[in-house]
Assembly symmetry: C2
Homo-oligomer: 404 residues x 2
């Protein structure tokens, strides 16, 4: 398996495009994306567990209940959530896509991201749909990735190449992240395409299994969005023998999927609102998997630790505090903590108590823009990783002015 | 019942003092407090549920297992937590108090607050104990309140007068708050004294019952500290007939206690690290109490909403988002949201969807330094209140530089 170029269009038969249609006032900011498969694809998605669910998610769930889809439309600038006519607007969006691409509107996945609680005007989408669909390109990933951004500072895309039963397959994805990132059984908007041939059932299984250890272990601010969704389309054009069970090919497919999703988790976390650095918390020695996960996620969610990381301050007491209230089964007498980055590693706590360390060295390690927090919570065999970012002045700035 | 002056010394027979002994480098900052009852008092306390527990809490629990205490010592500047010799140091602190006041060291409540994971040097406490105990005053509440502050910007004290069986009783308290405030079955450091005559059992019951709706409904940053503790001493000098059951007197005592604790919750929240305003979230219409509480607490814990409140931005979609992931049983079709302050009230959401409102008026309401977020989550009979604060640049600043 290798990383390749092409993003969401790396897989055979997938086109994409992104345009500015006028949902956003800023005319230089694209606000409408379309992804299209030349043939009908198997589809699966996971959604936010927030009970306030965006209208687009409700409709998408209906549309892919048959395990099939052919296109994804996504606008930024308005979440189409908590509006009286949200479902109606989402329905209209899928009909516009259906007409312009000559496909069944029920084979359209709909997504919206932006401010909650403001009516989404269909007019700009109506006006934008023709240039959007006519401009679909086999190398359109970058513009689509751009069109789904909200407070993201960089577009997020990745693609991999892998082999199933001698056939070369591809998988690509785009994502948006930044704020309201604390996925629970789902994530922010992530769209994945693959030309691998895999049944709807196995595709759904692959996605559900993967997100538990990837997007659900990522947090920017502890807020689980109303519009989180990861959707995957598999159009089978790689012509491998269809994956219908948990065999070697499925394992290989899972590996490709995990490479794509972990990359995006890191991208989303490191581009968290206002973030200056990516935090990767690796917990080992857990007596059970849930404990390792709880400890890792608690650490990357601690506002206090996040602020300390912003200041490159090795305030490890906050790491222990976060482990302590995480609900994890922790053996404090065997708890160790280190910070690691490209500049080296500094151990700050052994067996639950502080050890002497060079503050100068720790500062040097923590000033890097990717920092690992390595924690052992005992003698157990379970480990987990979580991704987050620091808490900065800019997070406050961005979120004090997002709506207006 | 009425609010009176005197703080922790308002109740008969209680003295207090606070000095700078040298735990902190800044010589103008007091760092050691002592509270003393002329006679042995009934005592109760509740503690953090963080499994990383400060050594002082562990020892305090032992000391008041007999329901009795006579003094409270508390230092700021060092939490005496996650140190190899923490228990030993806490033990020495109680022995120093015992010697200097000629009381049993086992009747001393010990508390420490400050940075976690640095050895607490007993020397400054040894040097400070004589001036501290010799300087105990019947009007020493303010200096004691000052000595337990960490990043607090104001000392926190309150006292009330109430009547039990014809006898005038008093209850007073001091507290520290600011950061790592997300109490769970306990809270930050709060010390309460009363001259009411109440059995140890009923005192413990009163405290445990009260904190569930007060300190446990307060959050500054979602971090449950390792050193949270609320301790109450009742020395009986008001000479009312001892409270031994849930009768009218107990109800009156609970009312006094609740007045004291709610006042302190608001004080702690409004003086949260970097906070510019107090947020009071009142949820009504819950189908069950837990749902009302979950919804209220989720709203005041949302980083996104907190940042919006800092900017006086009526971004109510974030309120709905926070309710949605709270786990509360919510009827979205009957969910209303309003913001209220001294400048008036603005309804922003009715039946789960936005309503037209004056942005100008909303801004005016939200610019006040005490803002109520009023939420109905359905037709039910249950309600709950939670207290929090906004998320500001200064929170990041304070926590990027706390340890160093």
């Amino acid at each position: 398996m290798k990383i390749i170029q092409g993003g969401i269009c790396a897989a055979k038969g997938f086109k994409a495009n992104g345009v500015h249609c006028g949902i956003r006032k800023n005319q230089t900011k694209k606000d409408l994306a379309l992804i299209y498969s030349d043939v009908i694809a198997n589809a699966a998605a996971v959604y936010t567990t927030n009970i306030v669910k965006g209208a687009p998610l409700v409709l998408t769930k209906e549309h892919i209940s048959d395990g099939k889809a052919q296109a994804i439309i996504c606008n930024s600038g308005n979440a189409n959530t908590c509006n009286a006519n949200g479902i109606e607007i989402a329905q209209q969006m899928s009909e516009l896509v259906g007409e312009s691409l000559d496909i069944n509107p029920n084979d359209v996945i709909i997504a919206s991201t932006g401010v909650i609680g403001q009516t989404l005007d269909i007019t700009p989408i109506k006006n934008g749909i023709t240039p959007l669909s006519e401009g679909l390109m086999y190398d359109g990933s970058a513009v689509a990735a751009e069109a789904i951004m909200t407070t993201d500072t960089t577009p997020k895309e990745i693609a991999v190449e892998f082999t199933l039963g001698g056939k070369v397959c591809h998988m690509g994805a785009i994502a948006k992240g930044s704020g309201m990132i604390h996925p629970d059984m789902a994530t922010m908007l992530v769209f994945i395409t693959t030309d691998a041939n895999i049944s709807s059932e196995m595709l759904a299984k692959a996605l559900k299994t993967d997100v538990v250890d990837t997007f659900n272990m990522t947090s920017v601010d502890g807020d689980t969005s109303t519009n989180d969704m990861v959707a995957i389309l598999a159009n089978g054009l790689a012509e491998n023998e269809e994956i219908t069970q948990e065999d070697e090919d499925f394992a290989e497919f899972m590996k490709a999927l995990n490479t794509v999703t972990v990359y995006l988790c890191k991208q989303i976390a490191s581009d968290g609102e206002g973030a200056t650095k990516l935090l990767e918390c690796k917990v080992t020695g857990g007596n059970d998997l849930l404990s390792a996960k709880k400890a890792a996620k608690s650490v990357i969610c601690s506002s206090l630790l996040k602020a300390a990381m912003f200041a490159a301050d090795a305030n490890w007491g906050r790491v222990l505090c976060a482990i302590g209230y995480s609900g994890a089964d922790v053996d404090l007498t065997k708890t160790d903590v280190s910070f690691r980055s490209a500049k080296g590693e500094v151990t700050v706590c052994k067996n639950g108590a502080g050890v002497a360390f060079s503050e100068e060295k720790a500062k040097e390690v923590l000033l890097e823009n990717e920092v690992e927090i390595l924690i052992s919570i005992g003698d157990g065999d379970y480990s987990a990783t979580a991704w987050g970012c620091d808490l900065t002045y800019d997070y406050v700035k961005i979120n004090g002015s997002y709506r207006s």
